[in-house]
Amino acid sequence: MPHTPAPETKSPRTPGADLPEHPDFLWRSPEPKKSYDVVIVGGGGHGLATAHYLAQNHGITNVAVLEKGWLAGGNMARNTTLIRSNYLWDESAGIYEHSLKLWEGLEEDLGYPILFSQRGVLNLAHTLQDVRDSVRRVEANRLNGIDAEWVEPDEVRKICPIVNTSTDIRYPVLGATYQPRAGIAKHDYVAWGFARRASEAGVDLIQDCEVTDFIREGNRVVGVRTTKGDIACGQVALASAGSTSVLTDKLGLRVPIQSHPLQALVSELLEPVHPTIVMSNAVHVYVSQAHKGELVMGAGVDSYNGYGQRGAFHIIERQMAAAVELFPVFARAHLLRTWGGIVDVTPDASPIVSKTPYDNVYLNCGWGTGGFKATPGVGWTFAHTIAHDEPHQYNAPFTLDRFVTGRLVDEHGAAAVAH
């Protein structure tokens, strides 16, 4: 039988085919020296960004970043990468907007692709009270020079056509706040970009090196005990996110944080369907579409404390129910992968970036479910705090002692993920 040639088919463009190749080694892997001017505990985004700005802005390069696992394998590798600055209070506007501006120039600064995509964020309102709170937040944002708009349901539909804006669902969409400059970035690339620059500048990035204790002399910490031996230091900066309490307990320093599991998940790769980021506090899900095409979804924290880097299954069930109600087109999408991180939650849902009762110990923690967006901003201001031994104007409000003085920065409403 004669062979009939198969009809010419054009294979569809593979989503993500235009992503840059995975890079080769980007940083040196030195053995730790006996001593450093600054030891940063925790090689997540915050620790790496701090090291980069210590070198770049302050010329401080005799620095080690100590990471107990692999570089940026903690929350930095596990988050859903949403970046925005539409928080309520002036204090938050200061630091998150500073960070967003840095994101806008970060690719050039690092000389490395980070795939920052400013596709905007919709924060949905489902009740009259949601609407009022949202409008208030939009006004507060504008007074702080942050791009924010209130959009009605028909505009929500224009910005993100797949959102279910019908009025007969359990939590109808009554409108949304919209921040056009919000976006996502490729989290691993961000970490690698910072790591490469810091390493080039002379910072030692040391993996598999867990800090287990501190060597103290009066009000100073003169060294850290690690699984790779003792390392002396002039200053110590903690950037260990969900594990901070384990370290502060060793210092006899009480910090008002609770560690919780927070999980996220992704679908299989899909053609582009979801042009922006959509978050909903009331129905507890938020969604964006990654560069490659996965739907990336997150929900709230598990209610109980946990260091296990995994969350409870019922959270996923609720999150999926919410997602399918808001986005009926997702009903047939396959869930590919779920994972968890450990986030450190404070009583006012704002971070702690602060000096401590120790002369030379600095604390960065309490970013909870939302610290990825702060990565360049907190690196910048924390480096300033370490270099000058005094807070930068943007982290000055986020002291440890605000829980005693009562100057809380209550962001529960705008932190957007239930915690």
Binding site: S245, I257, G306, Y307, G308, P347, F403, V404
Partner: protein, 92 residues
């Protein structure tokens, strides 16, 4: 989802319970005598151990009673549950 043992109802699914944070945090005996630091400790500061933790749970969708539990915050496994007025056996 794990089963949690209510001291009164027996094992029930996790979703029936509400978490109440650290156990044995007593209301101050003489509130007027507290300074700001002590109030902050009472209101905002809680232990956050990696390992065994004594905490409060309520069987919200069942008998609605509060009880205490000791749980491992790494494995999430409950080691003991006990009534609020009890001290509980301390796991060494």
């Amino acid at each position: 989802m794990q089963l949690i043992e209510c001291p009164w109802c027996g094992p029930r699914e996790e979703i029936e319970f509400h978490y109440g944070g650290q156990a044995h945090v007593a209301y101050p005996q003489d509130p007027a005598a507290l300074d700001d630091r002590e109030w902050a400790e009472y209101l905002f500061f809680r232990d956050n151990p990696k390992g065994l933790f004594r905490e409060r749970w309520s069987h919200a969708a069942g008998c609605r009673r509060w009880f205490n539990a000791e749980r491992d915050t790494v494995t999430y496994q409950f080691t003991t549950v006990y009534a609020p007025q009890e001290k509980g056996t301390v796991t060494p």
